[in-house]
Symmetry: C2
Subunit: 400 residues, 2 copies
C-alpha cells in the first residue's frame, strides 16, 4: 500500500430504503464520544440505562433484555440457537426472505423444521397456525412481525396464547417494526424477540436488541447441550449484562452509545407520537403513489407504514430508476429481494427518515425519474395528493 | 420510563488496559459521518479500500480478507466454525484465557479437541507442537500469537511449515498483536487469522478483521456440512465482501468507517515506525516498573510490548489501586483473568494509547497510589527511569 488513502468523504444521502435509515445528528454526535472501558463502572451504568430503555421500547418486564453485539441477523441466530437443541421441532412461518432465513438458521442449529408457507405479501391467519401446532407440537414457533421483503405486517393478536396452549415458545422477528409500529412483547406473550438498530430506531447497524421471557430463560437454563455458538450464548452473555458483570466479550461501546442516544430520542418523542408520525407520513406517501397508479405488494389492511413495498409501474426500469434517484437526488430506495427481485421497490419511512420533507422530495424526484423514462403519469399529482393529506391532517409537521 | 434519560456524558479516560485502547480523534470524527446504504456503490468502494488496507496490515495477499460484523471473539468463532466440521480433530495450544476460549468454541463446533498446555506466561516450543501434530494429525492447529491474559508473545517462526508437513491448517489469534507488533500472515503461512479493532488498531470494539489463505478457502468450499452459524458463514459473507456484492446481512457501516480511518492512521505512520513506537514506550514503561521492583508475568524474551502483564507488588491491593487510578487520574488498567485474577495487572500500550505522555503520567500516578497504600518504593524513581530511556533514545517523541 504505497498510495495513501484519501479522507472519508461519502456523498450525502437520504436513506429511504429498507434500512439503514438516516441517523439523527444527535446519534452521530454520540458516537464521537471518547470511549469508556467495557468494565468501567460508568459504562456499566450506561448498559443499565440502555437495558431499561430497551425494556420500555419492547414493552416488556423481561429481565433478560439486552443488545447482541452483531446486526439483526445475529439477533435472529441468538434467539434460535439458545432455544433450540439438536432434534427439537420448530415451525417457521415463511412469507418472505426473513422467514426463509429463519428456516436456514434453525436447520443449522439442528432443529427439525416444519415450514408453514403463505404467499409473499400475505399474512398468516391464526387458524392456519393452530392447525400446524396441533399436528407438530413444536418447541418453538418462529414468525416475522414486519416482513422487510414484502412490507406485510403479521397480526400478533392471540398468537402467544395459542402457542402456550401447545407448550410452544413464540419467537418473533421485530427487526423492522420496533419503534415504528406497536411491539408489545408482554401483551403478545412472546418468548424471544429480536430487532435491529438500523430501522425505526435510526441508529447505525451493528447491534441487535433482544428480549427473552422468563419462560424462555427457564428453557435455556435447562438445556441438555451447550449452545452451539459461544459468542451468542445468552447463559454467558446474561452474566455480563446482568448483576455479575462477568467478562464475556468486549461490548461494542460506541454502538451502545449510539443505541442509548437513539432510544433517548424515542423516549423524548413518546411511543404513541412516534407511531402516529409513521402512520401520517405513510398516508401521505401512499396517497402520492396512488396518484401515480402505483400499488402495494402486501395485502390490503396489513401494509407496514414504515416499509412501503410497491409494484414497479409498467414502463419503469428498476435499476435505471433507482440509479437516477441515487445519482440525481441522493435518495436511496430498496429493490426487491428473492421472489420480488425486479418487481417491487421498497420505500422506507423509518425513524429519522420518516419526515414530510422526505416524502415530498421523494415523490417529486420519482415523478422526474418516471417522466424521463417516458412513463405516462399525471404531472404534479403525486406531490399534490401528499400535500392534501398533510393539509387535512392540519397539525404542523415538525421535522424531527 | 417516565423519567427522561440525561445526555451521554462519560468521564474522560486514559485507556491503558487490555483493550479497548484510546480511539484517535480522527476515528471518533469519522464515526459522526452520515451513513451510506450498505449496498451503495460508494460504500462498496469503502469496503474495497478497507479490505486492501486489511491485507496490507495482515501482510497477506489473501483474497478472503474482511471484517466480521462482531467483536474479536466473533472473529475466533468465524475461523473455527468455518474450518471445523463435526468430528474433525483440532489441537489447541492453551497458555492463557484465550486459548481456553478457543477450546470451548471448537468443542461447540463439534471438534475432537486435543489440548496442548503450557504454563501461563510461557510460550510453546516448536518441538512440543511437532510431537502433538505427529500423534494427533489434526485438521486444524489453533494458537494465540499475543495472549492478552498473560502478555506472552508466541514465536511464529516455522510453525506454518510444520503444520503443513502434517496437512494441518494453522489458525492464529492476533487480536492483541495486529498493528502493534509484526503480524506476517503470508510469511507465517497461516491459514486463518483473526483480530479485533479495539487493541493496537485503536478503533472502537465491534469488528473482527479476519483473513483466510487459499488453502483454507479450498477446505471451506469442500465442506460436507453447512457451517453451523448462518451469521458467520464465510461462504455467504464472501459473496457480499467479494465481486458479487450479494446481500447477506447489513454491514455495520459506521464501524467500517471507523476501521477505515484507523487503518489510514496506521498507513500514514507506517508499520515499521508503529512497531518501533510500541517497543520504545514499552521500554520506558518497563524501566519505570523495574525501578519500583515490579516484574513481568510472561517469560523473559517473550513479553509483548503492547500488553504489560506484571505481578502486583507485595503490599498493594489490586482493586484499591485500580480504583484509585481510575477515580483520581481517569486511568484504566486491567486486572488479571482466570489463574491470574488478583495476581497481575495488565497495562496496555496499544495504538493511540501508546504514547510518552501516558507512560509518564501512569508511572507518576502509580507511585502516588502505591505510596498511599504504604508500599515502600523509591520516590520519583519510576518516572526518572522512564525519562532516562526517552533521553537515551534521543528522538523527540511525537504524540501521535
Amino acid at each position: 500500500m504505497s498510495k495513501l488513502l484519501a479522507e472519508l468523504n461519502p456523498s450525502p444521502r437520504i436513506l429511504m430504503g429498507p434500512g439503514p435509515s438516516d441517523v439523527h445528528p444527535r446519534v452521530l454526535r454520540a458516537m464521537a464520544t471518547p470511549l469508556l472501558g467495557h468494565l468501567d463502572p460508568e459504562f456499566l451504568g450506561i448498559m443499565n440505562e440502555t437495558q431499561a430503555l430497551l425494556r420500555w421500547v419492547f414493552q416488556t418486564q423481561n429481565t433478560l433484555t439486552f443488545a447482541v453485539s452483531g446486526t439483526g441477523s445475529a439477533g435472529m441466530e441468538t434467539c434460535v440457537v439458545n432455544l433450540i437443541e439438536p432434534g427439537d421441532r420448530m415451525v417457521v412461518c415463511v412469507h418472505g426472505v426473513f422467514g426463509q432465513r429463519m428456516v436456514d438458521v434453525a436447520q443449522r442449529a439442528g432443529a427439525e423444521v416444519t415450514v408453514l408457507e403463505r404467499s409473499w405479501g400475505d399474512v398468516f391467519p391464526l387458524e392456519m397456525i393452530r392447525e400446524t401446532l396441533r399436528k407438530v407440537r413444536p418447541k418453538v414457533l418462529g414468525i416475522v412481525h414486519a416482513e422487510t421483503s414484502t412490507g406485510a405486517c403479521q397480526p400478533m393478536e392471540g398468537l402467544g396464547e395459542l402457542c402456550h396452549e401447545y407448550d410452544t415458545l413464540l419467537l418473533v422477528d421485530t427487526v423492522t417494526s420496533l419503534a415504528g409500529i406497536p411491539v408489545e412483547v408482554d401483551r403478545w406473550q412472546a418468548d424471544a424477540v429480536y430487532s435491529g438498530t438500523q430501522k425505526c430506531l435510526s441508529a447505525p447497524p451493528g447491534l441487535a436488541p433482544v428480549t427473552f421471557s422468563p419462560r424462555a430463560v427457564e428453557v435455556i437454563h435447562h438445556r441438555k447441550t451447550k449452545v452451539q455458538s459461544w459468542y451468542l450464548d445468552v447463559t454467558m452473555v446474561e452474566r455480563y449484562w446482568g448483576q455479575e458483570r462477568f467478562y464475556h466479550h468486549t461490548a461494542p461501546i460506541t454502538m451502545i452509545y449510539a443505541l442509548r442516544e437513539a432510544l433517548r430520542l424515542v423516549q423524548e418523542e413518546g411511543l404513541e407520537a412516534r407511531f402516529a408520525r409513521h402512520r401520517l407520513h405513510h398516508s401521505a406517501l401512499r396517497a402520492g403513489l396512488a396518484a401515480l397508479g402505483i400499488r402495494y405488494a402486501a395485502v390490503e389492511g396489513h401494509q407496514l407504514p414504515q416499509l412501503n413495498a410497491v409494484w414497479i409501474p409498467p414502463g419503469a426500469d428498476d435499476l435505471a430508476t433507482r440509479r437516477m434517484l441515487l445519482e440525481r437526488f441522493g435518495i436511496e430506495i430498496g429493490g426487491g429481494l428473492g421472489d420480488f427481485k425486479g418487481k417491487v421497490w421498497r420505500i422506507g419511512l423509518m425513524g429519522y427518515s420518516c419526515r414530510a420533507n422526505n416524502v415530498l422530495l421523494f415523490l417529486a424526484a420519482l415523478e422526474q425519474c418516471l417522466l424521463a423514462q417516458g412513463v405516462r403519469i399525471p404531472e404534479g399529482a403525486a406531490v399534490a395528493a401528499a400535500n392534501q393529506v398533510y393539509r387535512e391532517h392540519g397539525a404542523s409537521q415538525a421535522v424531527r
